[in-house]
Amino acid sequence: MSNHLKDIILKIWRQNGPKDSGHFETYKVDEISDEASFLEMLDYLNEQLITDGKEAIVFDHDCREGICGTCSLMINGQAHGPERSTATCQLHMRKFSSGAEIVIEPWRAAAFPIIKDLMVDRSAFDRIIESGGFITSVTGGAPDANLIPIPKPVADSAMDSAACIGCGACVAACPNGAANLFTSAKIAHLNLLPQGQAERYKRAESMIEKMDEYFGSCTNHGECEAACPKEISIDVIALANADYRKAKLKNRKFISRI
């Protein structure tokens, strides 16, 4: 049985484009089912706005099942809202009560310029991924399953890091606007596995140095871990730091010339 929430007050950031200064605007949703997801509530509001001849609110969304990493939103000062370990699309209105005032802002970081309203450009993450390069692997005929032995705990840890959907909540939640959790998760995901060993140190070095061009620095607040919809642990940051140090100390080019 579903209940209905009444009189939800929404303070939503409206910004016409990257150059616009932007401002909060207040909207009211008279009635909404508590089974509605947060994004459905915004859809509902947008329908109202369109009916009234106003411009709909622009926000990022795609799969709406928590696996694509497209949705964002700073909801009441928390990345992805008050529900732990979920993306905004998996947040439901039952988390709020009637008469609630909800403030919605876009991610804010120099590397994430606002495109319009609540939509930001997260392509800085793509630059980091690109800098990581490829893994060397044997191509050709399909290899036998389980040809490379991987201990179960290692596979599990790598999988935990690989769960990163690249939504940018870590950057948004970080008081310093650092992307260490994202970058480290991507580094850890390959560096833990045997397939990633050939380029392990090169990868850590390039990705961390690329990250430096866009983002702030980690001061170990732990906010990223709390905001992460996939609950990726800041342990991966320590792992990436260690690999970065080793990358700086190793010089494989010299070794090959001996």
Binding site: M74, N176, G216, A240
Partner: protein, 254 residues
């Protein structure tokens, strides 16, 4: 073949990277944020070492005037007669100063980087989940500790802001007398106590944080990292705060 390709089309991905001119190892490391965090952590470890030994050394004041004054004299004779008197102490002081300068420079440049990373702040109130008061106030506690250290040197090393003794001048070697005269002024004692609590807060986050920055993450001892941080902070604060309290209570110098 690979070399020909490299020169013709430049880098594409991970392994085919253009030869960039590398700076010397340490400068190379210091040029990135993660490298600067290593510098923060390593200089932090050195400074924690100093703070802990400074506190332990000062405990001599509970054994009386001659113990503390002799300890101060002994520091000048470290490794004597291998090295001339005072040389080792000056080397340590030089190293310590370098650590302080590096720690502050790294902190300053990281702060600038972080400001640049979010030029437009959140316009609504943030609801922090796990960031502690200690972690969010590192810059302020750090600056307070720096100002305190400057005061502390002017007070007990140079005697500029200390009161003069019975013989009408500040004699540095009379450590015990200088400490007692300084802490008998209650505003000084209060400032000293507050500054040390700030130092404790700084250490509470700093000691935990350095494990992450150094990449020291071992599941088996991770749960100890918070306890170690709390322990170091508590020991330093309790030890240091006890000195002005002891002077005001008449236990020392009474």
């Amino acid at each position: 073949m690979a070399q020909v390709l490299e020169s013709q089309r430049g880098p594409v991905t991970g392994t085919a990277v253009a030869k960039k001119k590398r700076r010397p190892f340490l400068l190379d490391l210091y040029s990135t944020a993660v490298g600067k965090k290593y510098v923060m952590a390593i200089t932090g470890i050195a400074l924690i070492g100093f703070v802990v030994f400074h506190m332990i050394g000062n405990l001599k004041m509970y054994f009386g005037q001659s113990d503390l004054d002799h300890y101060a004299e002994f520091l000048k004779e470290l490794l004597y007669p291998i090295a001339p008197k005072g040389v080792v102490l000056w080397l340590l002081r030089g190293g310590l100063l370098a650590m302080v300068v590096l720690h502050i420079h790294a902190a300053y440049s990281l702060t600038q980087l972080n400001r640049k990373a979010r030029p437009v702040k959140y316009q609504s109130e943030r609801d922090y989940q796990v960031a502690s008061f200690a972690s969010r106030s590192m810059r302020y506690t750090g600056v307070t500790v720096l100002l305190f250290v400057i005061w502390h040197l002017l007070d007990l090393t140079f005697g500029v802001v200390n009161t003069v003794g019975a013989d009408g001048e500040f004699i540095r070697a009379n450590v015990y007398d200088n400490v007692v005269r300084s802490f008998e002024r209650w505003p000084v004692a209060l400032f000293y106590i507050l500054a040390n609590i700030m130092l404790g807060i700084h250490l509470f986050h700093g000691v935990w944080s350095l494990f992450q920055s150094m990449g020291w993450n071992r599941p088996r001892f991770n749960e100890w990292r918070r306890s170690i941080a709390a322990g170091v902070a508590t020991i330093v604060v309790v030890g240091n705060v006890s000195f002005p309290v002891a002077v005001l209570a008449g236990i020392v110098g009474g």
